[in-house]
Symmetry: C2
Subunit: 249 residues, 2 copies
């Protein structure tokens, strides 16, 4: 199977990392909209428009499946993309909810959803968690994590002070949904803030679980074809991919 | 005179504030490219392309002058814009340099340039300061200030820890160039970090000085016409303008 992975920027490479580790696909085609990143501070209309333009790009490839790695796109544009796509389109929100359900037995567990302002505004996670009968949900727009991670500050005083700013009144969570592609890069630091007591829900892992439950993968591909595209400076994105994923690009 | 003010987002309103205080223009037309903000993390090619698109927009109005309030645009796209514009185009870099020269007698004064990654990479300020014979220039890409300001954190622990991160090895400056439209909003906090000893160079004030030196303003306009446009959600931009500038929009 050939899969497309769409993200607003470089963050979706954390999802590609999970796909590579599980050797699910023969070919992975990645597109990051680096010329218009970030999406998480923008409006629904803009996010939907950009996502449909990305969809047109993926129509040029003979893919079987498109994953929208970006949680903001998954929260706002999935239905519109599905209605215009000749292939399956899977977001990261629903797989994240299923992974949360699998991790928690008690519907009164404290769940902390971390995401961009746009994703939190959409209430996509909150609505599905309530539908799954969870009672104690705290949603936090933690948008500053994104530029801090892009600045390479995965731990240390800046991140600590930002975590204190966001989390000081948050009840100690049993599960934390990392609702933005960047957040797995600081999952250790976030987990440590809450004493390593919470289960961390990572979109990449969640989507692998989801794919294995819904599709037949008959063989493993240890050396898939990889193509990386970006709306500006694809060479910079490829360099990051080589570094993060230890692959040839 | 009618003036256009172009910015990548809302930050350029700090320049509009200075223009309004000095009552220079009969009409001010503002455009913020909020659907593609921020520019300061993007490539030269992208910045130039977006700037020329904004120029086309301003050609629809009968303006006498266009101010690029965004330092990143001023650093990268000014020549290209000038070559295609039927009106004068003024950036904020050169006025900032002139204001610095007016403020400092000693060419060995310590100058600290704060700007986005793209503006710092361009070396626009550094080159012009060296040409003006200044010897001690420190340039610092302080991109995290932008989302922190947009989160409304104009002081407090988050900003303190980020300033410590950026400034811990910076020599105590005699002048600080606030090389990004957002930074005037935290000028007090930045000044206080260095014991209020440095002169702060603010683009809005610098451009007023520059305009008064280069153009004839024969009368004052205490109640200019104002028009605010944005590439997404102009209503949100107008609301911020009403709040920041205390004007009707």
């Amino acid at each position: 199977m050939k899969v497309g992975v769409f993200d607003s920027g470089i963050g979706g490479l954390t999802v590609v990392k999970s796909l590579l580790e599980h050797q699910l696909f023969e070919e992975i085609i990645y597109f990051g909209d680096t010329a218009r990143v970030p999406y998480g501070i923008k409006d629904k209309n803009t996010i939907v428009r950009y996502s449909l333009e990305a969809l047109e790009f993926f129509k040029n490839f003979d893919i079987d499946l498109l994953i929208t790695a970006c949680n903001t796109v998954s929260a706002y544009a999935l239905e519109e993309m599905r209605s215009q796509a000749p292939f399956d389109v899977i977001g990261v929100v629903e797989p994240g909810i299923i992974a949360t359900q699998n991790a928690l037995d008690d519907k009164h567990s404290n769940i902390l959803v971390l995401a961009t302002q746009a994703t939190i505004n959409s209430k996509a996670y909150e609505t599905l968690l309530q539908r799954a009968d969870f009672k104690n949900i705290t949603s936090k727009a933690t948008g500053l994590f994104v530029p801090i991670i892009e600045e390479g500050l995965f731990e240390g005083e800046v991140l600590q002070s930002v975590m204190t700013h966001y989390f000081k009144e948050v009840p100690c969570p049993d599960a934390i949904i990392l609702g933005c592609t960047h957040f797995p890069l600081i999952s250790q630091t976030i987990g440590s803030y809450f004493g390593h007591k919470a289960t961390l829900i990572h979109s990449g892992e969640a989507i692998v679980e989801y794919l294995e439950a819904h599709y037949k993968f008959e063989k493993k591909f240890s050396n898939p074809k990889l193509k990386f595209f970006a709306s500006e400076n694809p060479e910079a994105l490829r360099a990051i991919a080589r570094d993060w994923l230890s692959v040839e690009t």
